[in-house]
Every structure is written in structure tokens, then in C-alpha cells.
């Protein structure tokens, strides 16, 4: 596994664009197909937004640390915060049958990522680990090219 890329930003929405740019650039470097890249960026943005909203309960100067790994055919991203902990079973989408604002972020993450786990076994904060298997994505991208 190669050395990860790490980015640490203060917990503030104004840095979400920065983290999306970094990830876009990184996924480009690794030739991840455009649609997959867009979806992975959405998940990381949503996870960071949730840290700002729920772990730190609003914008502040505390750090959000994102670490991106390319491990063979897996893309792994970890989001670490030092804010309020909660029971990870509480972090889940609402029922989508009623159309109302909110509650979509975790739904996006669960739909798009292959593995999602929240770990609070530490003094402070939460470590979210999300894994996407790129193999099928990369192959389907190549298939499309052939058409």
C-alpha cells in the first residue's frame, strides 16, 4: 500500500470546497472514472459536513483530518474528528419514504461506499472509515471506452 495523502482542515464549511478539490485532483491522478470520482467526493463532503454539524455542533477551529489511501483496487478514506462522540448506531439515514428536507447525507454514504464504519474507541472524537472497491468501477469505465 502506498503512502497516504492527508489533509487537515478547520471544522468550517468554507473549507469543504478545498477538500473536494484535493480529492478530485487525487482521483484524477489515479485515473478514477469521472462518475465514480463525483460520488466519492460527495461522500467525503457529506462526512465532513456531518462532523461540522454533529460532532463539533457548528463551525469551529477544531480539526477535521482526512486521509486517503489507494490500496490495490480499494480506495479508502478516513475522517477523524475530536468532537462529541455518539453511539455509532445513531448515525443512520432516516426513512426516505416521506419527502422532507434533511437526513440524506448518511444515505449517500451508505449507497455509494462498499464499507462504512464509525469507531469511537478513543479518548476523543470519531474515526469514520469508508472503503470503495474500484475494480468493477475501473473495468466498467474501460468497457464504456470500448463502446
Amino acid at each position: 500500500m502506498s503512502q497516504p495523502i492527508k489533509l487537515s482542515i478547520p471544522s468550517h464549511p468554507k473549507y469543504l470546497g478545498l477538500i473536494r478539490k484535493v480529492l478530485q485532483e487525487l482521483l484524477d491522478t489515479h485515473e478514477v472514472p469521472e462518475e465514480t470520482a463525483r460520488r466519492l467526493i460527495l461522500c467525503v463532503d457529506e462526512a465532513c459536513s456531518n462532523v461540522i454539524k454533529h460532532s463539533y455542533e457548528g463551525p469551529c477551529e477544531e480539526p477535521i483530518e482526512a486521509t486517503f489511501f489507494f490500496d490495490g483496487e480499494d480506495f479508502k478514506v478516513q475522517i477523524r474528528d475530536y468532537g462529541k462522540q455518539c453511539d455509532s448506531s445513531e448515525i443512520k439515514p432516516r426513512c426516505l419514504d416521506t419527502i422532507k428536507p434533511g437526513g440524506l447525507g448518511t444515505h449517500f454514504i451508505n449507497e455509494i461506499m462498499d464499507e462504512v464504519s464509525y469507531c469511537t474507541e478513543r479518548a476523543k472524537g470519531t474515526l469514520l472509515t469508508m472503503v470503495k472497491k474500484l475494480k468493477c468501477e475501473l473495468t466498467s469505465g474501460q468497457e464504456k471506452d470500448k463502446e
Partner: protein, 112 residues
């Protein structure tokens, strides 16, 4: 990175809102602050032109869902026009593409 919103009144009680920029947690408040006053007027149709938006997250979707709720409770139209592929994909994953009235162009969305 900053977002821009432009309002136009192509017909009586009809307003188009053209958005330029990413809609995320840092900019969705500005979208809401533009849309909300329109819900209180005598507007019969609001058309949101999304051709300048290549990225939207759940906070942006939430803001547009408020428009949908307004349209349902006021027998008015809240229509989305010219979604880019990235935005359309997010609506699809949210299972909202068939819930909104979605049009390929602003012109089509303006037709009664």
C-alpha cells in the same frame, strides 16, 4: 468557489432563479435565503435553472425540497431545469429525480 444567484421575472407570478456555483453546506444558506422570500409572494411558478451547478450535496437538496413542499401546499409550480450530469446523479441516488418536476431546459420548464 462563491455562489451566484440571479432572479428574473419572465411572466406574471413567475420567477426564474439561475444558480452559478457549487451548492454545499457553505453556500446552501445563500440559496435558501434567495428562495424563501419567493415562497411568501404571490408566485405561482418558480423555476430553478441548475445549468451552472456542477455539484450539489444533501444540504442543497434539502433547500430544494423546501421549494417542493411550498409548491404542494400552495398549488404552485416548483420546477428544476438543466441539471448537469453530476447533479442529476445526486438526485437519482436520493430517489428524488421522479419526485421533482425536472426539465431539460429553462424554456421547457417555463411552458405552462
Amino acid at each position: 468557489m462563491s455562489i451566484e444567484l440571479k432572479l428574473e421575472h419572465p411572466a406574471d407570478n413567475t420567477v426564474t432563479v439561475s444558480i452559478q456555483g457549487d451548492i454545499d453546506m457553505s453556500s446552501s444558506t445563500k440559496v435558501r435565503d434567495t428562495l424563501t422570500p419567493l415562497f411568501q409572494d404571490n408566485n405561482k411558478a418558480i423555476i430553478v435553472d441548475l445549468s451552472g451547478v456542477s455539484y450539489i450535496d444533501s444540504s442543497g437538496i434539502a433547500t430544494l425540497v423546501e421549494g417542493l413542499q411550498w409548491s404542494h401546499s400552495n398549488q404552485s409550480k416548483f420546477r428544476l431545469a438543466s441539471m448537469t450530469p453530476g447533479v442529476k446523479d445526486v438526485f437519482e441516488i436520493a430517489r428524488l429525480l421522479t419526485v421533482f418536476e425536472v426539465f431539460d431546459t429553462k424554456e421547457e420548464a417555463l411552458a405552462p
